[in-house]
Subunit: 414 residues, 2 copies
């Protein structure tokens, strides 16, 4: 075979290696989904446990902690399986940094649980700690989606990330609503924040709908219990749809239960997403291997035919190979171009989150804010101006050049 | 050390591995620059050789062929050094595909030279074959620039790619102008094409100016011989600045010589670009290694202090590490975010070429055009409408949805 042919085959092998790495990432994402669900349940129970002065969900909470520990072991095992030693992981720097943040959060989890058990922490603070940990886990999923090089797999990962993020907003809404009902009243700011959580969910499920596979969408449809939906909608209207004022404390429990049923139903969709992702990776790897095999066989046959008929050294190719290799090269170029175009389309759906992250970073740098403060500031602007979070983020980024210190910050990096 | 710390260190090691891979790519790009220059000289001499009925540049051409062969060996050796077996190269699929195209072109080079030697080929056809080979080599450089993950290195590679591409347009202008003067006349279409070559150069050198390092820009300034520039401008005005009509055949030689002097001077800038790129990679690797060393030492010291003072198992961290690890994690997140923002800015300068590539692909698919025809069609539209190539390309892409067959093509890929 010619050296041109062997590079053509090497290019294919790289694609296969990338797909295999993606398959490993997909596995990790599936395990993270299960862990997040367990953490969401633990968070919800801890919230009620603390809010009820330790009278409710005591034993269930401990059972859920055990469930969480087992999921955590799975996640840690998956992290351990990542080959951190080889330094060859694609997007390794970002992925490993996100994982470092998660591991740091996990190490702090036993102490958090002790404080919850001893009721030495406010419900709000405990919830915030879980929210942060879940956000760290979702950031790992986001990096996985952002680094995928295969458009089909990337599409599935984007659907999965958005579903998981939307589900997390549902979990946050459950906690927020349960707290508001339990407090017996809500003010205008609280209602605004509640509505923001609803809109955030809708945004995520919209993207999920755009990118998810038809089978997954059918499972999603089937998971939607009309009665649960109606009940959640009714309670939402009472909580954040009318005028600020008193709320019926007795609604805290039905609200919590309704949301919990919805969250558990979503878990089946997540399982389906993980399954679809795994099958997709397997199918893509099998297809790429078959194509590699065909290509190699074709090139070897042509080379063999060539060496039999080649009586002089030049030209280097027989008539067959002369016709076939350029065609194969052109086909490969077209295929990679099409993949890259499609990948760009899929990835642009992730730019919304990136803009928010960048705007947060900007506020942190120039206004000496913590990450939390920066996010809250953006959210407040979005709510006050009745705009989407991403639009506010982009407005902040557009102002970057005129913010004081922006230039200094740039040059200090150079 | 905690597992969080070890992932933090692993993230750093990934960055170093990426930089080392980039250093190898930078080496390859430097060698390709030398080879392209040799090919441009061979192309120019072959052009004159064929145009003069074999009376001019005969011996010089053979000497240049020998020089080219030596550069080709270097390039092949660099290709061979790429680890195609490990399938771990970042962006390997695209890079290796581009290399396969180049190797195929190189294998056809001896036959091309034989035809030139025997004057069994038209000057125009010979030039087109060299142009195609150089385009393939530039595509390798483009992939290298597009896959760089370090913004500083990416910036240097973007400057280098644009300079090399601009220089290639200069080489094409030399051939085009020499042919036009030798023919003794030029029509309106020819003038338009000539002006297009001038504008293409300006676009490339503009981007080069935006991204090149100050030292490189100084060398570029120093390389500009005012007399040569004035002569080229004068001859350009005669060739494509006035009305179509007769040209002085005697100007072919001074035109060719002026352009050749300019091209040879550009070669010194390319050398400086390659040198700067190599130094930059070395400096970045050294800096990243030093940072990794510091970080590891800090984490080990903290872990050692922790294990001496830790009398019970929880909490997992001593007060030092509690303060330091989160700070390190946040600093790392901020740094990666800043790098990714900067990288995005640098890369967006490459989108122009990508749009043209995509538009070409679209025309090839929907109008059954060859790559050459598609490029010529885009160029013709740009010239007729007096718009930039990228604007026409984007207009074509915007029409993609309504082009017949677009949908069919999408579904056949799914």
């Amino acid at each position: 075979m010619t050296s041109g042919s062997s590079f053509l085959l090497a290019a294919r092998q790289c694609e296969i290696a990338e797909l295999e790495e993606l398959a490993g990432t997909a596995e990790l994402v599936g395990v993270i989904g299960r862990f997040i669900h367990a953490l969401q349940r633990e968070r919800g129970m801890s919230n009620v446990f603390l809010g009820s002065g330790g009278t409710r969900f005591g034993p269930q909470r401990l059972q859920q902690v055990a469930e969480c520990r087992s999921c955590e072991q799975e996640v840690r095992a998956q992290f351990g399986r990542l080959d951190t030693g080889s330094s060859q992981a694609r997007n390794g720097a970002r992925l490993f940094s996100r994982i470092a943040v998660v591991l740091h959060g996990l190490d702090a989890l036993p102490a958090l649980r002790q404080r919850i058990e001893g009721r030495a922490i406010e419900a709000r603070e405990a919830t915030a700690a879980y929210v942060k940990l879940v956000a760290g886990l979702l950031a790992v999923v986001f990096e996985a989606a952002d680094s995928a090089t295969d458009p089909e797999v990337s599409r599935a990962l984007v659907a999965m990330f958005n579903f998981m993020q939307g589900k997390e907003f549902t979990g946050q809404e459950r906690a927020f609503g349960a707290g508001a009902f339990a407090a017996g009243s809500i003010d205008a700011a609280g209602q605004q924040q509640w509505r923001h959580l609803v809109e955030s969910q809708q945004g995520c499920f919209q993207v999920f709908g755009d990118f998810a596979d038809a089978d997954v969408l059918r499972v999603d449809q089937a998971s939607r219990d009309a009665q649960v939906f109606a009940e959640i909608e009714r309670l939402r209207r009472l909580g954040c749809g009318g005028h600020p004022g008193p709320l019926d404390r007795n609604l805290s429990l039905p609200w919590y239960d309704g949301c919990t049923r919805r969250l558990d139903a979503m878990r089946t969709v997540e399982d389906m997403l993980a399954l679809h992702l795994r099958h997709l990776c397997e199918a893509r790897i099998a297809r790429a291997r078959a194509e590699l095999r065909d290509q190699r066989a074709l090139l070897e046959a042509l080379a063999a035919g060539e060496s039999r008929t080649a009586l002089d050294a030049a030209p280097a190719y027989g008539p067959h190979l002369e016709r076939t290799l350029p065609a194969m090269l052109q086909e490969q170029a077209r295929r990679l171009q099409a993949m890259s175009d499609e990948l760009e389309t899929v990835r642009s759906s992730l730019n919304e989150r990136k803009a928010v992250e960048r705007a947060k970073g900007l506020l942190m740098a120039h206004r000496q804010m913590s990450e939390d403060e920066a996010y809250k500031a953006l959210r407040q602007m979005a709510m006050n101006q009745n705009r989407r979070l991403v639009d506010v983020a982009e407005a902040v980024l557009a102002l970057a050049d005129v913010l004081p210190g922006a230039e200094k910050d740039m040059s200090s990096r150079a």
